[in-house]
Amino acid sequence: MRKKLIIVAAIGTTALALGGCSASGGEDPDTIELWTSWTEGESTAVALEPLIEAWAEENGYTVNQSNFTYDQIHEKLIASAAGGNLPDVVWGLPEYVGEFQKIGVLADVSDAWEAWEDASLVSDSVKAAMTTGGAVVGFPYETTVRAYLVHDDLLAESGVSVPETWDDVLAVGSTVEDATGSSFYGLTGAGVRQPQELFVYLAQKGLSIAEEQPDGGYANTWNDDPEQLVKATEVFQFYADLMDSGAVNPNSATYGWEETDDNFATGLTATFVTGNWLGEREASNPETMGDVSVHAIPYPEDGEPATYLESKPMFVMANSESLEASTELAEQFASEEWQSAAFADRSALSSVTTDSKWSKGFAELLDTGVAYPPVSLGEITQDMQDALAMVLQDGESPEAAAMWLSDAINEALEASGDASGS
């Protein structure tokens, strides 16, 4: 009897384990697998869900939409590409363009772009951000730039005017903090936002982290060109001077965007380079967000205005069984109707905008936007964080950090196969 019980228990356990097993649906040409990264329950999701449903119904497709964080999407795409089990349409980040193009999973949507009726409403810089190796690989579903946000009341209280250049920023020093208790200038020392910030300051000096070479490969040329090395050194020197002048909170060296955004929204920082998503904080922090104005990011006097252009590409996967329909769905996300409904304040289309400062103030800076080069960025962005840590945390010289970063970027380009000659 007991023996029977054991056998039944063993079978039961196995049945329980395998009970939920079923093969994934996979390659049904009438089903489109869509991976997104919106915040569930928020306005973007609320606006897009019915639009996707209506599109699917109208075109006779089933759209299986699943939501993940961008990190999860990145890792899932790598695993799925290796397993030959990719979805059809994916929300991507600009950082993914080079990497996924290199492993050959992105569909070339150049023809669809040419035929796209709203293409003329998109700036060249946004189109360039969607392009790699001469092919357009995505439609811009969300586009923002960074701007310099200022708490006007805090600056007025300190008798400081909005700085336009790096020298203006450094000249303020600790004046604002002495008068108000709030740090003057925000700085991101760690995390994903730090390389974007550093990238802007380098661009303002006319530098690129990786320049395209005649053979189509990429290289960092700072160590080969004394003039470029001087400029890169000056960028790291600017960071060091920000610390030394008392303009920034010394703890910023380890702050990620979670801390820096929060510090600005609560008025702990008087000015900060960030994105228009902070407009959302007007609701939760009305007493400190009411005085915010939008400006161009301070730039060096011997440089030029520049900002980070983050145009997120909607990828279509090259192996999609429903390539045409998937491309059409991706295009829909970038269309005037869908952009107006879900991305009114962060659209690449010149016709889609709102009257708020969070839309217009940022849109005015689009022309100065610069995007990452289309190379695998994972290791490079980590190197950028490490280089800044050398200056802000280890006390190494700006020149040493610039030289190290140049070598590190070239090593990363070699490793990823993006280097010139590889």
Binding site: R2, I6, L16, A17, G20, C21, S24, G41, Q72, A82
Partner: protein, 280 residues
């Protein structure tokens, strides 16, 4: 100083140290619970406070109603319980063999292989495992997660149970054998009942490991209907904003089942961990 007052001083110092340790340990959990009960404007206040001016259950309601967390909890329970049961069955049998036949070459080799497997980080096996699951047709199913979680906990579970078997004298089994019991009967009727604390302890380990697992949870499944709780919690952290209220409420909900199970089984857990620790 008299012996009594010395003892009293020692007791006071012990309790003060234990109290400090308790505060240190409990603070993150307390902060998590307090944050879950705060409205957004209090979470995002310039000066954080332990006190809540306007306590609210909105975060919990939002998490449970709008974000389908009941489904995610169900999914986590199914895969964790199944992985726990499956790994216990396998580890109980494997542990017995490891303990009683440790001189066999095959056992020693398997023991070594299991030990080595513990040194390989899961992330390195991500792609091979993904391809394996795809070939088995298990992607987007509970089966992929159950199989992965079971595989990862079996080595340590087997070692723990093998150690527990070691503490049970073989004379007990010989007595059962003399009474005519088969090897399996001896195992199920004589040995395993003595090992309940160890089994509970290993079961808890297997359950908690599966419950807390994050990476395979979103790599092997791509539909909301199969999402487990740990990857679901991450959805409150957006690319540029964090819904701290939702994140904290979801974390409280995720911790509760484990805390409750642990509360009821902790005495078994401790004695299970101790079994085999001291051999006499």
């Amino acid at each position: 100083m008299s012996i009594a007052s010395r003892r009293r001083t020692s007791t006071v110092i012990t309790y003060v140290l234990l109290a400090l340790l308790a505060v240190y340990t409990l603070f993150p959990f307390l902060w998590m619970v307090m944050s879950a009960l705060k409205p957004a404007n209090e979470i995002r206040a310039r000066t954080p406070s332990f006190l809540i001016a306007a306590p609210t259950l909105d975060n919990f309601v939002r998490v449970l109603v709008q974000h389908d967390f009941l489904v995610y909890i169900r999914n986590s329970l199914v895969v964790s319980l199944a992985a726990c049961a499956l790994s216990l069955v396998i580890s109980l049998l494997a542990g017995y063999v490891f303990s009683r036949n440790y001189r066999m070459k095959a056992v020693q080799t398997t023991n070594f292989a299991m030990l080595v497997s513990q040194m390989i980080p899961g992330v390195l096996l991500l792609v091979p495992l993904y391809i394996t699951m795809r070939n088995l047709g298990l992607l987007d199913s509970y089966g992929a997660l159950i199989l992965a979680y079971t595989t990862f906990v079996i080595p340590l579970s087997t070692f723990m149970l093998s150690s527990a078997y070691d503490s049970i004298p073989t004379s007990l089994e010989e007595a059962a054998e003399i009474d005519g019991a088969s090897r399996l009967r001896t195992l199920t009727s004589v040995v395993i009942p003595v090992m309940v604390p160890s089994i509970v302890s290993v079961g808890l380990y297997a359950f908690i490991t599966a419950w807390n697992e994050f990476m395979f949870g979103y790599i092997f499944t791509s539909t909301d209907a199969l999402r487990t709780i740990t990857p679901a919690i991450m959805l409150f952290k957006g690319a540029n904003t964090v819904d701290w209220g939702g994140l904290m409420a979801a974390s409280v909900i995720a911790v509760l089942p484990v805390a409750i199970i642990f509360l009821f089984l902790q005495r078994y857990f401790i004695s299970g961990l101790m079994s085999g620790a001291v051999k006499g």
